[in-house]
Symmetry: C2
Subunit: 290 residues, 2 copies
């Protein structure tokens, strides 16, 4: 495995492999890798001849009051983990290598980027779409891998690839959870021992909502209120949102049908966590609706 | 030469050529081709194994009161001309092929797209950047060719390619002019016999400004005022703008130095025309400045 920090050197390394017909899989990450990332890399490893993992904490996707400087970093640990997983190349550019001049060009999906997390993080998904677009042009992979845990991000990347005719496939990889249901996240490291048990309320709320829906509930407002009530009642937890949206467009639903994303975000202590599940429901006019 | 209207079929046609190591040149156009386009295609023909010319009048880059429906189209004439020029593939998709769903994703360079023509055409360059991004992903050319006549567009595409790390080279091709200096444009067809002689004022203003600068003038305001006065004094012509900007960033200059673009836009009768020239000037602290 090679760690490369230069765009030019990475292209030089990948170009002969691509020309020889080798398939390339890219796993874009911000580093500080955990088992969720490991599943992304394993999946890429199974499906491609060459696996590239990018590690880049992208300043463009952090707001002025967010945790860019505090975001955890540990390249040494990441390299060890990725060696064990059979990664071929780590691409770990500096901020200056990725943005030698201010980014004049932005890739934006306003309708999908201003909802859910976008309400509290208005520039986040523009930053994500822009940097992912750059990484896809630098690596030119056949497939790129994203976690379903970042459900809004995955929906946005899927739509960006479709809208801009990017010549690759996006693969969504299931969320990896702790034994108590907490979704793996690099930010879990910031949870205090006191707060940690309360962090499971995000997943518990999603499970309760799923139970409601399986019992026949189809009114989004009811499902959202139930999730919100549970999360709000949890000690040390402050609700950001609890929503039921169309999984592909992220637009609000009044009656649940089709592929639905239940998505929640909350501050547990000072740490902002997100989670979601996607449910395939019968179409709205189906006789299956109770 | 083959005319292809489907993205999938174009990719199928190009993929084996690319895999065999053939270089691909793309000339994006809106059709109704003239000698300016011919020079783009000839340049692409000299520099590449395979030449693709796209013909697509992109609704995204026309404002609600602009001439999308009236924009001239003549695919039959274009095919004849491109056959003669040795083009290999015409890509002529329908609006539905390019936008099967509404474009949620936009590629935007607000700082460069809101100046010059962007003041009267606020959504134009977002539409251009978005569709060019799509075309580059569909064709995946080694080089793409744009006319210097659309100077703001060329600067924006160059910056987009740099910012997003698109894996290709952009080639700017010199403006082709009528014998009296009028820049070739598909929209020249709309000039009435009465208005046509007045249309040369755009190029005449640029020449006068160049003379001023060659005589030592370095104050942008003086140069701009001189161009504006000439254009405004021309019968049947209404000035839109006359500016001197940094050719790379399109930002205004107070003192002219470095690579400067003189850019003008005016309505000649009802037809909006643009023109520009680029002058390489000594840096601002050079002893060459008089």
């Amino acid at each position: 495995m090679q760690t490369i920090t230069s765009i030019r050197l990475l292209r030089n390394a990948l170009s002969p492999l691509r020309n020889a017909g080798r398939s390339i899989g890219l796993v874009p990450t911000m580093g500080y890798l955990h088992e969720g990332h490991a599943r992304l890399v394993s999946t890429a490893r199974e499906q491609n001849d060459v696996v590239v993992v990018s590690i880049f904490v992208n300043p463009l996707q952090f707001g002025p009051n967010e945790d860019f400087a505090q975001y955890p970093r540990d390249l040494h640990h990441d390299e060890q983990m990725l060696t064990a997983l059979g990664c071929d190349f780590i691409f770990a550019p500096s901020v200056n290598e990725m943005y030698p001049e201010p980014a004049v060009t932005v890739v934006d999906l306003p309708e999908m980027g201003q909802v859910l997390c976008g309400r509290t993080r208005p520039i986040h998904f523009r930053g994500v779409a822009t940097v992912v677009s750059k990484l896809l042009h630098i690596v030119q992979p056949d497939k790129a891998y994203f976690g379903q845990k970042d459900g809004q991000q995955l929906a946005i990347i899927l739509r960006m690839v479709q809208d801009l005719n990017l010549p690759l496939a996006i693969v969504g990889v299931p969320t990896v959870r702790e034994s108590d249901g907490l979704a793996k996240s690099s930010r879990n490291i910031f949870l205090s021992v006191q707060d940690r048990p309360h962090a499971t309320v995000l997943y518990r709320a999603l499970q309760v909502a799923r139970d409601d829906i399986e019992a026949g509930q189809r009114f989004a407002a009811e499902v959202m209120a139930h999730m919100a009530a549970l999360i709000s009642a949890e000690p040390t937890v402050r609700l950001d949102y609890a929503e039921a949206v169309d999984a592909r467009t992220l637009q609000p639903l009044s009656v649940l049908s089709g592929t639905v994303m239940l998505a929640v975000a909350a501050y547990v202590g000072k740490t902002r966590l997100i989670d979601n599940i996607v449910l395939p429901l019968p179409p709205i006019d189906s006789p299956d609706i109770p």
